[in-house]
């Protein structure tokens, strides 16, 4: 199979299924062959992986300390009061 079996325009739509392991074996094969030969689509894949890395860092956002304090107070009340 040649690289032309799947075109860049289709590759970008298959990226998530590929990353999720949801591509059928033959589709996956074609996808991987295309990627091996197309540096632009490799760049696209790299960008998608980098996007996930950046998204994963959002989680490190600070939670307001006063909110943590007030919930911790509720925790203290319930857990120490009850037991």
């Amino acid at each position: 199979m040649a690289v032309h079996d799947v075109r860049c325009r289709e590759v970008v739509e298959l990226v998530t299924d590929f990353l999720e392991g949801a591509l059928a074996v033959d589709r996956r094969d074609v996808f991987e062959r295309h990627l091996a030969m197309c540096t632009w689509c490799q760049t696209y894949m790299d960008q998608m992986r980098a996007t996930l890395e950046v998204t994963g860092r959002i989680r490190e956002d600070e939670v307001p300390p006063e909110l943590v304090d007030s919930l911790a107070a509720a925790f203290r009340l319930e857990r120490s009061g009850g037991a």
């Binding site: 075109r7 299924d17 197309c38 689509c41 989680r59 919930l71 857990r79």
Partner: protein, 220 residues
């Protein structure tokens, strides 16, 4: 393996966290809040009508966690258990979550995002030599200074891109890529099929990549 593997049950470290919570360990509880609160708010915001209601729902969720931790049986992960409480609390509010996913959406006309991962103008049009291949290819981000890529501004750009996604995409991307839930957990929490979950994830992620590309290319 796929991202839709077995739903993780409580693991060893989680057993320790649960034990600490039951013993009234306040630091363990604070750590749990810091770990999950922002994602709970983000997800709740997609399920109720306002940010204020979302924050109330999350507060109620934490209170339910405090009261209910003794009843946690470890059949799902602690995280899934907390999110399930959140989804139930949000639904109790008679929230906008009741709306069904339109059929047109699943047929590839998603809520406002355009049906494509990438602007079609960036590919050679049909009928020409090299049709369907890039004519305006992506530029490698690895050429950027590392501090630019890992800057707070870049993370903020991703966060704002996610906030602007249509509701269901936002829920799925927040749960999968911010909070790190498995595909199966997300299907279960939101009542989605695996296929629908992947479509939503694909549209959402593609949109976030494209917004980051604009952000990183814009002020190069």
């Amino acid at each position: 393996m796929s991202g839709l593997g077995e739903q993780p049950a409580a693991d060893g470290s989680e057993v320790a966290v649960v034990a600490a919570l039951r013993a009234g360990d306040e630091d363990a509880f604070r750590a749990l809040v810091r770990r999950h609160h922002a994602a709970l708010v983000r997800v709740a915001t997609t399920m109720v009508d306002s940010r204020a209601v979302a924050e109330e729902v999350v507060q109620e969720t934490w209170l339910a966690v405090i009261k209910g931790i003794d009843g946690f049986e470890g059949r799902s992960s602690l995280r899934t258990w907390i999110f399930r409480i959140l989804v139930n609390q949000a639904r109790r509010r008679g929230a906008k979550e009741a709306r069904a996913i339109p059929v047109s959406f699943l047929a590839g006309n998603p809520e406002g995002a355009g049906g494509h991962a990438v602007d079609q103008a960036r590919f050679v049009p049909d009928g020409q030599r090299w049709a369907g291949h890039w004519c305006e290819p992506p530029a490698p981000w690895t050429d950027l200074p590392a501090e630019r890529f890992s800057s707070k501004e870049t993370v903020a750009a991703a966060a704002s891109a996610i906030n602007e996604l249509p509701g269901r995409q936002r829920e799925v991307v927040a749960l999968r890529d911010i909070e790190g839930l498995s595909g199966q957990e997300v299907c279960e929490l939101l009542g989605l099929s695996e296929g629908n979950q992947r479509v939503l994830l694909h549209r959402g992620r593609s949109r976030v990549r494209s917004m980051l590309e604009k952000h990183l290319g814009g002020e190069g």
